[in-house]
């Protein structure tokens, strides 16, 4: 098993957000996590990334057989975890090229590989830009600075392509995208799917899942997964909304 989350309880500033979350994801799988606002979807992504404001009060996250929660933020990335952020931060003055080269070479060093030469790096970057149809000259552009919503999300998937993670968690990658950009981003993700890696897609809407077809769909409500199913579950949610889930949960039919 690539990722195993057991009975995870997470709080922020004393308020419990995740309340006994369980999930198992294996290589080659695509999981979708859906659910209404404020149920803990982004918290899950942030905790896996290593964001320090969250307190894990109970439970465990095991990744490649190791205790993920004991790893530093950068160690997680070097071990192959990638988070596509919902709101990627703008970093004026740091070019995307310099950022990616630093990141890639640190990851390579961690794995005991030689750093890429400038020429190798540029070739790789040009190749990976095609994944999300990026045309901008990345050595001139600061990370996310002045990017539109669509460009920011494309840039996230571009970074995913560059870093070739084992486990990618895409947090509302579809939010703020028009139909064309959505297609480009989804196509990019599909190109990066392989039997070796796993992807967790966090989304409100079924729309993205038309393009990125999941193996499993989970509904997150009140800090835990209350229902799991196949891609048909997403269609059902699209049609009926989340109210029936809430109702069934409150009636104790879901646990």
């Amino acid at each position: 098993m690539l990722l195993k989350i057991e009975n995870l309880h997470v709080s922020i500033h004393g308020k419990e957000i995740l309340k006994g979350f369980n999930l198992e994801v294996d290589r080659g799988e695509v999981h979708a996590i859906m659910g209404p606002n404020g149920t803990g979807k982004s918290t899950l992504a942030a905790v896996i990334a290593g964001k320090e404001v969250f307190d894990v009060t109970k439970g465990s996250i095991t990744y490649k057989g190791k205790d993920l929660l004991a790893m530093s933020i950068e160690e997680r990335a070097r071990e192959g975890i990638f988070i596509g952020f919902q709101y990627p931060v703008e970093i004026p003055g740091v070019s995307i090229a310099n950022f990616m080269r630093t990141a890639l070479n640190e990851i390579r060093q961690y794995r005991g590989e030689e750093p890429l030469t400038a020429a190798q790096f540029l070739r790789l970057m040009e190749e990976k830009k095609k994944v999300v149809e990026l045309t901008a000259k990345l050595s001139d552009r600061s990370v996310n600075e002045g990017f539109s919503g669509g460009e920011k999300k494309k840039n996230e998937i571009f970074q995913m392509a560059m870093l070739e993670p084992k486990l990618a968690i895409l947090d509302e990658t579809d939010s703020g995208l028009d139909i064309d950009a959505l297609r480009v981003v989804a196509n990019g993700v599909n190109q990066l799917r392989s039997p070796e890696n796993a992807i967790i897609v966090i989304t409100h809407y079924q729309r993205l899942l038309d393009y990125i077809v999941p193996d499993k769909v989970h509904v997150l409500y009140d800090g835990k997964i209350v229902k799991s199913g196949t891609k048909e579950l997403a269609l059902e949610l699209e049609e009926k909304g989340y109210d029936w889930i809430k109702k069934e949960y409150e009636q104790g039919k879901l646990t």
Partner: protein, 462 residues
């Protein structure tokens, strides 16, 4: 009169005869008027608002040596090699307050440009100099300008005639080489004719600095459509005391750009005054300071919009480590008739320790009603969100901090238009931020002296 004011007045009386011996009439008059103003206004103390934070009278020695004769010629090009590759500057040197030359105290180039000793220019071209020297009202400028005017030794004079664009930058190197506690007062005058342009790189360094006290004044006069870029590098040792006044007058459509970079300082204060006297004149004033230990760096920037349609931008950024202190005092004054002024002022700082101090005072004074002005200052640490984002891609915390700090500083370095200088400074900023000081082995300036290569920003604290 404070003791140090009295000391300077006495110094003037004792040395006036010898100092003014070669002076033409108007210069002797200037000096006499200046010392009277200085005596009346006094040497800066903590009672003067603009000197409140770091009163200068508490930093000066009791006595200084005044070097009254020029340095004998030193083959400076044999010992001074600037490491900035392919910069191709035309270099002129001031040593202990005097212009150092091999052949001629004043050189006239084939294109008409004149460079050399100010004293010599006063003798040979008195009318030209008189029209531009000492144009400021000594009652309004800092009292140290009056002190300089009364007792300056020599300085660099540059004249660029109308319509001449000088491609090769001029590098002014001001050195202090004495083991004694010298009082050094350079007076520089740079005059650009109509539609003329020039870049200056001004390096202020010390070789064997006793506890010298340098009080320089550089006057810059820009005629219509003249364009001047002025890059100023500070690399002084911890015992040095350096006050630099830059006084700029711009006529219609004149453009002035300055970039003040301070890597090492004892006590450094740069006071830039730009008078935008006629319409469409523009000033861009940038500054970067990376200081640590007990260093003190102070930037006072005053832009006076006197005419309509002028524009000005001030952007100063600093990183302050250990117990260092930085001061920024920016003042934009928009006169009543200066309609359609656009003036902006920003000061951003990152402090690395609880002891590092920054005092910032952005200040707007506006009497016109149709203007676009803004000012602002920030003091803080690096952006946590950005740090997290970089680390989440596998970059270790130390390198993430370096990347962000470099990006912060580089915004200033990027404004340098001379490519070779920009590259060199980019390199120096990177090394400085990584905690290695950049060595200029071939340069006689003190940055090659191991005793001074001790700067380190401890990135773990950023």
């Amino acid at each position: 009169m404070t003791p140090f004011t009295q000391y300077i007045v006495n110094l003037f009386e004792k040395n006036a005869k010898q100092l003014t011996e070669g002076d033409v009439g108007f210069l002797a008059d200037l000096r006499k008027k200046a010392i009277a103003v200085f005596a009346e206004r006094g040497f800066p103390t903590g009672k003067m608002e603009s000197w409140r934070h770091h009163p200068l009278d508490q930093h000066v020695e009791k006595e200084y040596t005044l070097q009254l004769t020029p340095e004998p010629y030193l083959p400076i090009d044999k010992v001074f090699k600037c490491k900035i590759g392919n910069i191709g500057t035309n270099m002129f040197t001031l040593m202990n307050g005097w212009y150092v030359h091999q052949h001629a105290p004043l050189t006239i180039f084939p294109n008409g440009m004149m460079v050399g000793s100010l004293l010599m220019a006063i003798q040979q071209h008195p009318d030209l100099v008189k029209a531009h020297l000492a144009q400021q009202d000594l009652q309004k400028t800092d009292p140290l300008v009056a002190m300089n005017e009364s007792l300056f030794t020599d300085g660099l004079f540059i004249y660029v005639p109308d319509n001449l664009h000088v491609d090769q930058p001029i590098q002014m190197v001001s050195l202090a080489t004495s083991k004694e506690n010298l009082l050094i007062q350079n007076r520089n005058l740079i005059v650009l004719g109509k539609n003329a342009s020039l870049s200056i790189i001004y390096c202020n360094d010390s070789i064997h600095d006793g506890k010298s006290f340098t009080n320089n004044v550089t006057e810059i006069s820009l005629d219509e459509q003249a364009k001047m870029n002025y890059y100023k590098m500070e690399n002084k040792d911890p015992d040095s005391l350096l006050i630099d006044h830059i006084l700029v007058d711009g006529k219609t459509s004149a453009q002035f750009l300055s970039n003040t970079i301070t890597f090492n300082a004892g006590y450094v204060r740069t006071m830039i005054t730009v008078n935008l006297n006629e319409p469409y004149a523009d000033a861009k004033l940038y500054g970067l300071y990376l200081v640590d230990k007990m260093q003190y760096v102070d930037n006072h920037v005053f832009v006076w919009h006197k005419a309509t349609d002028c524009t000005s931008t001030q952007l100063y950024k600093g990183v302050i480590d250990n117990e260092a202190t930085a001061n920024f005092n920016g003042h934009i004054l928009v006169a009543q008739d200066a309609q359609r002024t656009a003036a902006f002022q920003t000061n951003r700082n990152i402090t690395l320790t609880d002891e590092a101090r920054i005092m910032t005072k952005p200040f707007l004074e506006i009497y016109a009603d149709d203007v676009q002005c803004s000012h602002g200052a920030t003091v803080g640490q690096l952006n946590d969100e950005a740090l997290f984002y970089l680390r989440s891609r596998g970059i270790c915390e130390r390198n993430a901090r370096i990347l962000l700090l470099y990006a912060f500083a580089n915004e200033i370095v990027e404004t340098i238009e001379i490519e070779s200088l920009r590259h060199r400074l980019t390199d120096m900023v990177k090394k400085r931020i990584r905690g290695e000081f950049s060595h200029c082995e071939e340069c006689v300036l003190h940055c090659s002296d191991p005793k001074d290569i001790t700067f380190s920003i401890d990135v773990s604290k950023i």
